[in-house]
Amino acid sequence: MSVLVRIPTPLRTMTKGQGELKTEAATIQELIDRLDQDYTGIKARLCEDDGNIRRFINVYVNEEDIRFLQGQATPLKAGDEVSIVPAIAGGSSDGRRVRAIACGR
């Protein structure tokens, strides 16, 4: 099941500069493990030591926050788009509108 993964700018040093990747995974958990196989160390950036996704990393499957789906068990199907977005870091060098930046007036 090939899904598209969008990598935020600060993590692209780990993905050889790639902003978008295609990978095979049936769930978000699998996707993270798979990414870590291909790009060693990326899981430590995305997850706490206990394996849970860090509080200030938002993960979206087709624009829906996985916290409101099934979290890391959220299933993926072919063609899904997964976005990894730092909650407050913002910014996007590829011109794509970054979504869901948390706010403070």
Partner: protein
Amino acid sequence: MGYVKGLKCRECARPYPHKPLHVCEFCFGPLEVDYDYPAIGRAVDHRSIESGPPNIWRYRALLPVEGEPVVGRYCGFTPLVRARNLGKALGLTQLYVKNDTVNHPTLSFKDRVVAVAVIKALEFGFPAVACASTGNLANSVAAHAAEGGLTSFVFIPSDLEQGKVVGTSIYAPNVVAVDGTYDEVNRLCSEVADKYGWAFVNINIRPYYAEGSKTFGYEIAEQLGWRAPEHIIVPAAGGSLITKVWKGLKEFYNLGLLPAVPTRMHVAQAAGCGPIVNSIKAGSEIIRPVKQPRTIAKSLAIGNPADGYYAFKVVKDSGGSGEHATDEEIVEAMRLLAVTEGIFAETAGGVTVAAAKKLVQQGVIGRDEVTVISVTGNGLKTQEAVASALRIPTHIKPTLTSFDAALSQNLTVAGGSGVRRDA
């Protein structure tokens, strides 16, 4: 001169230098200012603070600035009003209103954070300051930038109250009205900050900016005679104020300036945009963003609060709670505060008063417990919200007969006809 050690990630505690950074590059958590507390403890006591100037700079040792404040020198130390009349109306004997409707220079608590932020922007040598704002922040950034001789850019949602737009434009900043919600404005500003390298006070200067809010809590404690109240009701938009008021009280306690902090911190939000209160009521630390905020309390209309999780945590840690206010309740509470205490608060003040009322009714706040309602902005900025609910003036001709007729028909006089007998 200052006591800043550097910055520290609030999540993973990684240290960062004293620079305009705001996000941990490892775990993406927010950065926070780290101080040399033992040194502050040696330098500060009740007397040293009391002998300081009557503004936020009496707490300078606990603020992240280096030299003498160069802007916002008269900010803060606003009245802590002993609100006997409002207390009577709500059923409380020990009620206070922390009144930032008269903060200097732009009549909201935002002057506290912006004074610090603009000083930092100058310290760091930024060519321009900027902000994404629901209005009060816009006023304050434009005013302080003018004072500091900095160019400013202010991004606001295009549906803001006229008072807030005029109250910004007078200082001649670059005002950009964005067709979108505040959350969309903020998102855009994150990209602008990256591209243009300006000091966005609530984005890349945020760790420093947010520290200014602690002074709201410091003042409450000092003005109560160096004690912390049993309840503080705080309005929440991004959720930063409540976390910093709490931090301020804890710092005072740790420095030996307060004997105890028994304070329960309560969050007040509008019913039409209450992501933090929703989480508190649901008992879930996950803040579900509100996509389309709908409330007259536009200064609180942030659907995706940056400090929502931390605000939630402060409420949990302090044994507090959260309450909503509908638009009708907001207007009613604004009027109640005005007619009981003579204080004209903006809509956010209506939200806190309305929330306090509910907390009393629910028995969360006890009759004789020391309670502080935070009023963070001035009603003259949001007149549209209440104008239609108010009694219009009684029109008369310039004759005594006309006035007499009006008096017998339309006007209210407490304690009788109002005709003087001693003439």
